[in-house]
């Protein structure tokens, strides 16, 4: 795996989070009914940042949840490494709410499809909106994001790696090329 380009640095990640937070407030006309749910692992970190940012802007306290989608994956039997099941932590009722689902990278759309299944098992939100830090294209299911940090045209031979301070020590997004 060879690093080809640095798509976002720490400041750019921060700016994306701030812009997305403002867009969420704009679209929902404030924080009324809004809650933020991140997909483990890095989507959860981003969700926390977006929730903090919204709260800083509005002086509110939007509810924050974490979704583990392992049990909903459609590729459980084919992926090489057995995934570890983590906890879903959504301590509030999502029925009737505007749920902002957060993930780091939007690629095939399958992760988001699983997350939608997982969410509707927990209740019936009024709307589900999708926020991602990077949209790299190549969808395999009809899913689109409502809020995008950065659109990055990629080829299938490339990978997008998101690193966040919470799990990786620093914030950056890099485009890698599969070597060989």
């Amino acid at each position: 795996m060879k690093e080809k380009a640095r798509i976002l640095d720490q400041e750019a990640v921060q700016r994306c989070v701030i812009r997305i937070s403002h867009e969420i407030l704009e679209k929902n006309k404030g924080v009324e009914g809004v809650c933020v749910v991140g997909i483990r692992t890095r989507g959860a970190h981003l969700a926390k940042r977006i929730a903090d940012c919204i709260n800083a802007i509005e002086g509110s306290s939007v509810e924050l949840g974490v979704l583990d989608i392992t049990l909903y994956r459609d590729d459980l039997t084919s992926i090489a490494q057995q995934p570890v099941v983590h906890k879903t932590e959504i301590g509030f009722d999502i029925t009737g709410r505007n749920v902002v689902l957060v993930d780091d990278v939007l690629y095939t759309g399958r992760t988001v499809r699983c997350a939608l299944d997982a969410l509707v098992d927990l209740g019936r939100p009024r709307t589900i909106q999708l926020a991602v830090l990077v949209d790299r294209g190549h969808r395999e299911v009809p899913i689109r994001a409502d809020y995008v940090g950065k659109n990055v045209p990629t080829s299938q031979g490339e990978t997008v790696e998101v690193r966040l301070a919470e799990s990786d020590g620093k914030d950056e997004v890099v485009l890698n090329e599969r070597s060989g």
Partner: protein, 313 residues
């Protein structure tokens, strides 16, 4: 750390990481049972067969609920109403279940080693739900899960197991599991019910219940099977209660904070006093609730491992 075994046969063969993985996975599954829709699709399309050669309500129902909350299909076979009555062997029953394309067999049998034997013969997963005097791994796992939930750890805990140690698969599985995770285990029973050489399993032996309880963080009270094995050792049930029964006075004498567990079904007034079973120290019903999460974790892990085994070929 990932799970690679197609079966769960006992805790003796598991290392610390494997036991911890089951307990951690169970913690994630516990949340599912608190939802309004208590179901996840993880085992959709899989078939779980409960094959019970011994009567059991609690364990069978717990496995059935666990499988159903994972969206598996469940078939229950009780030996009394099956071809076992016509003389079919265990292996033949097992290979037939496999030919029916089931994915997991959960077996309860009165012969020690029945689950191991079946697992060797079958390609599908086998989960031991209790075999003779050998092991009852999911019971010990749910006991440990409950301890960890209550006290935050297993390492360094002092756990007393009291009752018919000689004939108890629950005791054996608990001893393997607890000692592997670094707990200190004392077994306590009348001499006749302590098997010789039990110290080699890494436990202390006590014959005085008050001594055994003093300083213990938890006591696991085993069911006394007076209808079966215990009669020879203790002819009168009241004598047992007087000498080994867990009463409020004994709990108080031991410091008052001790956690009281019991695998059920309870013999009130024989091994445990009613007011203790229903009192503030008791976590008996929490054990029952936790049993579902633990069994969901076990079914999920063995099923995953077996799928991987075939996709790797």
């Amino acid at each position: 750390m990932s799970w690679v075994r197609k079966d769960l046969l006992g805790l003796e063969e598991l290392n610390r990481e494997e036991i911890e993985l089951i307990l951690d996975t169970a913690e994630s599954f516990k949340e599912v049972s608190s939802r309004e829709i208590k179901k996840v699709p993880a085992l959709r399309g899989k078939t779980v067969v409960n094959l019970f050669y011994e009567p059991s309500t609690r364990t069978r129902v717990s496995f059935e609920i666990a499988a159903k909350r994972l969206s598996a299909d469940v078939i229950n076979i009780a030996a009394e109403t099956s071809s076992v009555r016509k003389g079919e062997t265990l292996i033949d029953t097992g290979t037939n279940i496999q030919a029916l394309k089931a994915d997991i067999v959960v077996i309860r049998h009165s012969f020690s080693g029945a689950a191991v034997m079946l697992a060797r013969k079958l390609d599908i997963s086998v989960v031991n739900a209790g075999d003779g005097w050998h092991e009852h791994p999911t019971q010990a796992l749910l006991d440990m899960f409950t301890l960890k939930e209550k006290l935050g750890r297993i390492e360094g805990l002092r756990v007393c197991i009291v009752g018919d140690i000689a004939h108890s698969r629950v005791a054996r599985s608990n001893i393997w599991g607890l000692t592997r995770l670094g707990a200190k285990v004392t077994v306590c029973a009348p001499r006749m019910l302590i098997p010789p050489g039990i110290e080699q399993m890494g436990v202390d032996v006590g014959y005085d219940i008050d001594e055994a309880l003093s300083g213990a963080d938890a006591v696991n009270v085993l069911r006394m099977q007076f209808e079966r094995d215990a009669r020879e050792a203790f002819p009168r049930e009241m004598d047992y209660f007087r000498k080994f029964g867990i009463t409020r006075e004994r709990i108080k004498k031991a410091g008052g904070n001790i956690i009281v567990m019991h695998p059920g079904p309870l013999n009130r007034g024989i091994e445990i006093a009613s007011d203790v079973a229903d009192g503030p120290n008791s976590v008996i019903l929490e054990q029952v609730t936790n049993g579902i999460a633990v069994r969901m974790a076990v079914l999920f892990l063995v099923s995953q491992a077996n799928d991987k085994r075939f996709s790797a070929d």
